[in-house]
Amino acid sequence: MTRREALQRILAQIGEDDLALFTTGMISREAFDLRDRPANFYMLGSMGLLSSLGLGLALQWPARTIWVIEGDGSALMSLGTLPLIASYRPPNLVHIVLDNEVYESTGGQPTITSTIDLTNLAQAAGYPFARHIADAAALDAALADALAVTALRFMLVKVTGRAPEGIGRVTLTPEELKDRFARALMGAPAATHSSKVTPAGRG
C-alpha cells in the first residue's frame, strides 16, 4: 500500500470534530493535498515534536479525538515520548506511524525500521491498543477496531511509494495555520475542557 492510499483511508475516518496533527515533510504536504481542513495542524519544522503537542492537546481536550499522524523518522526522533504518552494513557489519542523505512523528504536515506518494529516498542511502553498493519485490508479493519474503542491507540502502517511528482507545499503561513487551528479548537463546548489531568494509575 502506498502512503497516499494509507493516508486516504485514514483521512476518510477522521470525524468532523476530531483534531488531526501531521508531521514535518511529505506527510503534511500529502495530507494538505488530499483533505485540508481547519482542524488539521501541519508541523512544518521541528521534526519529532508532533507527539508531544498531541499529548498536550489530548490531555486538555478529553472529549475530542486527537489524531497524531507521523512518520518512522519522526517517531524515532522522539522515542521517549512513547512511554510518556503511555503513562498518561489518554483514551482520546490515536497515534499513527506511517512507516516507509526512509527519510523521504531528504532523498530516501534509510531509517532503522526495516529491522525494528515500532509496534513492539509501543506495546512495551504500555499502549493498550497496538497494531502492526501491512496492507490496505488490515488498515481498514484496524481503523474500524480503533474507532470502536475508547483507549489510547497505536497503529504502525507499513507503506511504500513516493509522493506524486510536483506535490505542493502547505500554502498557508505558520501563523494562519495556528490561528485557524485554534479557532477550530475553541469552537468546541467549554465543558469538554479539562482543567486537571493525572497520569493513568497515578491520579
Partner: protein, 170 residues
C-alpha cells in the same frame, strides 16, 4: 531570621502569582534549583504539571495550552536550553506560540560544578541570540516581573524566559 533568607519567596507564592496570570498548565524537566517549585506544582489541584522526558517534549506539551486558549509554562535547567533551540526557532517563534519558560541558572557567576560553567556563562547570550525576551528574577520584585513576562509573551505572541538563581524561591 533576617538577611537573605527573609527575602526568599516560597514556591506557593511563586505559583500563586502565576495562577493570577492564568498560567495553570506546565511541563518540565527537574533541576535541584526548581525542587520546591516542582514539588508544589505536583500537589496543587489547580495546576497541571506533566513531567516530560526532555525539555523539547515539555515545550511541545505546554504549547498545547496556547492553542487551547490557555497559558502554558515549561520548567527547565539552563543546560536544557540546548534541547529547546530547535522547537523554539522552528515551532514557537515561527508559529508565534507563547510559552513562559522558567529557567534555572546553574553555573551563575562561574561558581558551580564544571558541567554547568559553559552554559552558565552562555545562558543570557543564547536567549539574546534567539531573541527570546528574558529577565532574571529577584525575590523583592517577583510579582511584577512574572506579570511582565506573561504580559510580554501574550502581547508579542512568543516565548519569554524568566531566569531563576539559587536562593530566590525556596
Amino acid at each position: 531570621m533576617g538577611g537573605i533568607a527573609s527575602l526568599m519567596r516560597t514556591a506557593e507564592e511563586f505559583w500563586a502569582i502565576l495562577k493570577r496570570q492564568q498560567v495553570t498548565f506546565a511541563a518540565g524537566v527537574p533541576c535541584s534549583l526548581l525542587e520546591s517549585i516542582l514539588n508544589a506544582a505536583q500537589v496543587d489541584v489547580d495546576l497541571t504539571y506533566i513531567p516530560a522526558v526532555r525539555e523539547d517534549v515539555a515545550l511541545g506539551i505546554a504549547s498545547a495550552a496556547h492553542l487551547s486558549g490557555r497559558r502554558g509554562a515549561i520548567l527547565l535547567q539552563n543546560s536544557g536550553l540546548g534541547n529547546v533551540v530547535n522547537p523554539l526557532t522552528s515551532f514557537n517563534l515561527m508559529y508565534r506560540i507563547p510559552v513562559l519558560m522558567v529557567v534555572s541558572w546553574r553555573g551563575y557567576g562561574g561558581q558551580d560544578a564544571p558541567e554547568h560553567l559553559i552554559m552558565g556563562e552562555k545562558t543570557p547570550e543564547l536567549l539574546q541570540t534567539l531573541e527570546i525576551p528574558y529577565v532574571v528574577l529577584e525575590a523583592e520584585t517577583l510579582d511584577e516581573t512574572l506579570a511582565w513576562a506573561v504580559t510580554t509573551m501574550e502581547q508579542r505572541q512568543i516565548p519569554v524566559a524568566v531566569i531563576l538563581r539559587k536562593g530566590v524561591v525556596a
